[in-house]
Symmetry: C2
Subunit: 117 residues, 2 copies
């Protein structure tokens, strides 16, 4: 068992093609206890975005701060502080904070399928 | 895909023996998209606690608000806002907000082993 401030985890740039001003911290990954799912914290600065993409891993998300366009939703949808977002496997999704004025931060849990994290 | 405010999920009393002033919302459960792990939000009001207990399900936790004693840690440890807490399978744990002055709220992700949620 452990309890640490999230800032103790390294903050890394997200390198997905088209992503900008976005970082991720692996809060609980395979090397820090996770067995079948991992908890990450993403931060998208104002002006940044993660473009539409998809993958096998579903997402269970809780928004901590800010507001962003939720790309790929059936109609234009925003995700904002205190929202729960669920993105099923292989559904295109993205987050657009290009018009935002504060950081958009969220917890994102994914299954560990073939990841080394 | 969906995005909803967490308060749209029903808030239920935690009925674990010895628990007091504690509620849970199943944010993403088996009936709302979860396949192998579920996201819940717990709130322990000042004066409340969840006593020591253990189970097969590990916990991946992110603290949203407040501060509580983390029971079962090797030495007396607090968990507070912005902390990441990991509790392995079958490790005794609990949360004590009996001396707190504000709600202790946290996201807690668990595997869906034999749960119906």
């Amino acid at each position: 068992m452990y309890a640490i401030n999230y800032t103790e985890r390294p903050e890394e740039e997200v390198t997905l093609a088209g992503a900008s001003k976005t970082t991720v911290r692996w809060l609980i990954g395979r090397n820090t206890g996770a067995k079948t799912y991992a908890m990450r914290l993403f931060k998208i600065a104002p002006g940044g975005k993660v473009p539409l993409h998809s993958h096998d891993e579903e997402h269970e998300i809780f928004v901590l701060q800010g507001r962003a366009k939720l790309l790929g939703a059936p109609e234009e949808t925003n995700a904002q502080k205190d929202d729960v977002v669920f993105i099923p496997s292989n559904v295109e999704h993205g987050y657009d904070n290009t018009e935002g004025t504060e950081d958009f931060r969220f917890i994102c849990v994914i299954p560990l399928l073939n990841k080394d994290e």
